[in-house]
């Protein structure tokens, strides 16, 4: 229970540099308190002005067993209140309200207590320790006490005495800031302590952060917050005195809401700093203007309604409005406009408040947009509470699993587990631990029992206070994707085959023509042109076909025994005209004259072809190209270095992606499919190897592949309709 007491200023003494202990005489009052509590102290008259008024809260530093003499601590400062407190004569009558606060030590407690104090924040702890010594308490208490210097440390002698008198008390003094290390070191022996922190606001916040980082639960850390509301309710000070001292003005000036006062015509005669912040106009620009300065964006009916509400009906207008800041940016505000009246009842003006709710409004819009996305998503989106019960089940989930939302909400998510329940539990536990799972391929069961292959993504949901409140799950049905991809690659395969045959026809007929008809030199040239175009078109079709085969999983690896040196050498010989055309120098280095390997020659040839032809194409005339072949243990190393245009850094991550071409490659050579390196890298994968590169723009690139000398056969997943015996 708290009350208002009339007490006298009994004593004032210096306890450290700049630090004073003020003692009040409560002997005429019947006052009791617990250690750790605080009081509000109202000064009789202010000798020095203070915009914060004449009342302040102080923790009691004295022991509760002497309630007739209550002391507090204060540092001297420039504040009018503090200066008055240190100047008014002893014996002055002071109004005190209290006791307040819940910082006291719990009565039945077996946990050790750590008190962390900064400066005069030590007051409530001093009260606790004095009390503990008087009561011979066996409560284990450690006080960590920081001050900016020795001289500024109050009660050093007394604290050391208290420590000697009660073996359960430990006090550690610190000059300067208390840091993480100091706390850890001081409290390492303690099992599960309770924490109390008092001091300047910045220090309390800092300690809060340290403790939170140490993993101390919020509930184990105690602070004090001096609350003026108790005080005001009790009417300890008059509303007027508060106003006169500027507290109301201070409050309005520091409000985050825009507050403006206008005359009956709407002309502004007061605007608070928040109005500047929200509208972007300086107060001086607003004075004399109407709020139309930043308003006027709503329709006519809105303003009609506003004015009739406040001017005709003399009622408060409440609404949401879109206004425009000085910089042109629009914002959404909640406005309240009320008329106010003079003593004789005449309309004296309007008070308007605006709260900028743009963020909130956007968040709401975002939430609605998100809800629409979830509703219209083609992927199943499901959310569960921490007990694995389904909270939401979108229309796509209804279509995919064939369960209606009303059948599933409230039910366990494991209804769709099929025989994957253990996997689902493991995933759930990972997500609870903060993990996000993306596109994990798995199977889930539909209502009719059918098992579907899906890609599942899971992520944790947290509330605004970062508490885990559930899991979101997205299931992407890949059966459709796979069917489409299959169709696509089948189409490419068929198209390529069909295109190939007439092309070969053209090629052979041209050859026959040249051989049998003895055409003129000019005709021979034209025929050669036809022939070259056909060859290029053919190579292009081959490339597309290779991609479709890779995508369709149609490639089987049939390793046969070859000599890598002659295999590569033969290919390079075929390329000689191309090197010659660009005047490029080719070097072929090998560490053995013959390297026997067992590999799939189609895949191997694709790799060599892609890397060598790229080197030729993307290296300017007169450049150098070096092909290296080395037997390295169980592996073959094949490398192609050029002095070409290089691969820009931004392209590094995409260089093996299908259809990707770096910008400098596009500039250097307009045509190109962006498929060569994709095919090469896929073929390297099929052979169980790796492909890497180093590159510097305008200097050159080296691609290196490492593949095993002996590749295992891989059967393609395409079944061929064959009857009759197969022996090989």
């Amino acid at each position: 229970m708290h009350n208002i007491y009339s007490v006298t200023l009994a004593n004032r003494r210096k306890v450290a540099e700049n630090t004073y202990e003020i003692t009040f005489d409560f002997s005429k009052e019947n006052f009791t308190f617990r250690s750790g509590q605080y009081i509000w102290v109202t000064l009789p008259e202010m000798l020095f002005p203070d915009v914060r008024g004449d009342v302040r809260a102080f923790s009691i530093a004295s022991s509760p067993d002497a309630p007739e003499r209550v002391s507090i601590l204060t540092r001297a400062s420039e504040s009018g209140y503090k200066k008055t407190l240190l100047a008014i004569p002893l014996g002055s009558e002071i109004k005190v309200s209290g006791p307040f606060g819940f910082l006291s030590l719990p009565e039945k407690n077996t946990r050790p207590v750590v008190l962390i104090a900064g400066g005069v924040g030590v007051a409530p702890f001093l009260s606790m320790l004095r009390d503990a010594v008087t009561r011979k308490s066996d409560q284990l208490i450690i006080l960590l006490f920081s001050n900016s210097s020795e001289e500024w440390t109050p009660y050093r002698d007394e604290l050391e005495r208290l420590q000697r008198e009660n073996p359960h008390i430990t006090i550690l003094f610190k000059v300067g800031e208390i840091d993480n290390k100091f706390i850890q070191e001081a409290t390492k022996e303690l099992q599960w302590p309770l924490w109390y922190v008092m001091g300047p606001e910045a220090m309390v916040n800092h300690m809060g952060m340290i403790l939170s980082n140490m993993g101390v639960p919020d509930g184990d850390v105690h602070y004090e917050e001096y609350s003026p509301f108790f005080y005001r309710e009790k009417g300890v000070f008059s509303e007027n005195s508060f106003l006169e001292k500027g507290a109301l003005r201070t409050g309005i000036e520091s409000s985050a809401s825009q507050i403006i006062l206008t005359d009956p015509d709407g002309k502004i005669f007061y605007a608070n700093p928040a109005a500047e912040k929200i509208t972007g106009y300086a107060i001086s620009e607003m004075l004399g203007q109407t709020p139309r300065l930043w308003g006027g964006l709503m329709n006519h009916a809105f303003y009609e309604n506003l004015w009739s509400t406040i001017r005709r009906d003399h009622r408060t207008f409440n609404g949401q409005v879109t206004n425009r800041r000085k910089n042109g940016e629009q914002y959404v505000a909640v406005v309240h406009i009320s008329p106010f009246f003079s003593k004789d009842g005449k309309l004296a003006g309007f008070v308007g408040t605006e709260e900028d709710v743009t963020e909130l409004f956007r968040a709401k819009e975002d939430a609605m947009r998100l809800a629409r996305i979830v509703e219209s998503s083609v992927d199943a989106i499901i959310s569960c509470d921490p007990n694995d019960n389904i909270i939401s089940w979108n229309p796509a989930a209804e279509r995919l699993f064939e369960y209606k939302a009303e059948e599933m909400v409230g039910k366990s998510i494991f209804m769709i587990a099929g025989d994957k329940k253990e996997e689902m539990i493991a995933n759930r536990d990972r997500v609870r631990g903060g993990a996000i799972i993306q596109d994990a391929r798995s199977e889930r069961k539909r209502k009719d029992g059918a098992v579907m292959t899906l890609l599942g993504s899971l992520w944790p949901i947290y509330d605004a206070n970062n508490n885990f409140i559930g899991i979101s799950i997205l299931y992407h049905d890949i059966s459709r994707d796979e069917a489409l991809r299959h169709l696509e690659s089948q189409f490419i395969a068929t198209a390529s085959h069909q295109l190939r045959t007439p092309l070969t026809g053209i090629q052979w007929v041209v050859e026959r023509f040249l051989k049998t008809e003895k055409p003129s030199e000019r005709a021979r040239g034209y025929l050669q042109d036809i022939h070259d175009s056909v060859m290029r078109l053919g190579a292009l079709i081959n490339t597309f076909l290779n991609v479709s085969r890779i995508e369709g999983g149609k490639i089987s690896i049939i390793p046969i025994s070859i000599d890598a040196v002659s295999f590569v050498g033969d290919y390079l010989k075929e390329c000689e005209p191309l090197f010659a055309q660009k005047n490029q120098t080719l070097t072929f280095e090998k560490n053995q004259e013959s390297i026997k390997m067992t590999t799939d020659q189609d895949a191997f040839r694709n790799i060599i072809q892609s890397l060598v032809s790229n080197a030729i194409e993307y290296t300017p005339d007169e450049g150098n190209i070096k092909v290296t072949l080395e037997e390295q243990g169980d592996n073959l190393m094949f490398a192609v270095s050029d002095t070409g245009i290089g691969i820009p850094d931004v392209a590094r991550d995409f260089i093996f992606a299908k259809f990707f071409r770096a910008e400098n490659a596009k500039l250097f050579k307009a045509d190109g499919t962006g498929l060569g390196l994709y095919i090469a890298s896929e073929d390297v994968k099929l052979l169980g190897g790796t492909i890497t590169f180093v590159s510097e723009v305008d200097h050159g690139t080296t691609f290196t592949i490492i593949i095993p000398l002996i590749t295992k056969p891989v059967a393609s997943d395409v079944k061929y309709p064959l009857e009759g015996p197969i022996d090989g």
Partner: protein, 136 residues
């Protein structure tokens, strides 16, 4: 001088015509069929020294023809060179597993090379068991 008997089973009339002309000029006795069924009949009646067999064909595809030949005591020893429209083809690999002697990727070879390959086949040991995996 006839260098040998060849059956060409190829559904593309133009390719077939050019091949027949060129191989005939080179001194082979050449006959042709335009689908798998006719091809099998042709091979059965001619008992050639070599069959050039396209893979993708109507009625019976080349691999079916090949499997049928390998299943027939009278035809199983006749060597077969597969004709494929494209390289890196799984069908070629299947054909080799089924017992084809060699293969030719039509699009990768000039006519001359095809004919040279056939010629060199006849110059080599023709025993059908001496199967080598194809080199383009």
């Amino acid at each position: 001088m006839i260098r040998g008997k060849i059956c060409i089973v190829e559904d593309d009339a133009i390719l077939s015509k050019v091949l027949v002309e060129d191989l005939t000029e080179a001194g082979f006795e050449v006959s042709s069929a335009s689908d798998g069924e006719k091809g099998l009949e042709l091979v059965d009646s001619k008992k050639p020294d070599l069959v050039l067999l396209d893979i993708l064909m109507p009625k019976k595809n080349g691999l079916e023809v090949l499997a049928a030949m390998k299943g027939s005591p009278a035809l199983q020893s006749i060597p077969v060179i597969l004709l494929s429209a494209l390289g890196s083809d799984d069908d070629i690999k299947r054909g080799l597993i089924l017992g084809a002697t060699d293969y030719i990727v039509k699009s990768e070879h000039a006519m001359n090379e095809v004919v040279d390959k056939v010629k060199s086949f006849f110059e080599k040991d023709q025993h059908p068991q001496a199967v080598t995996m194809g080199q383009p």
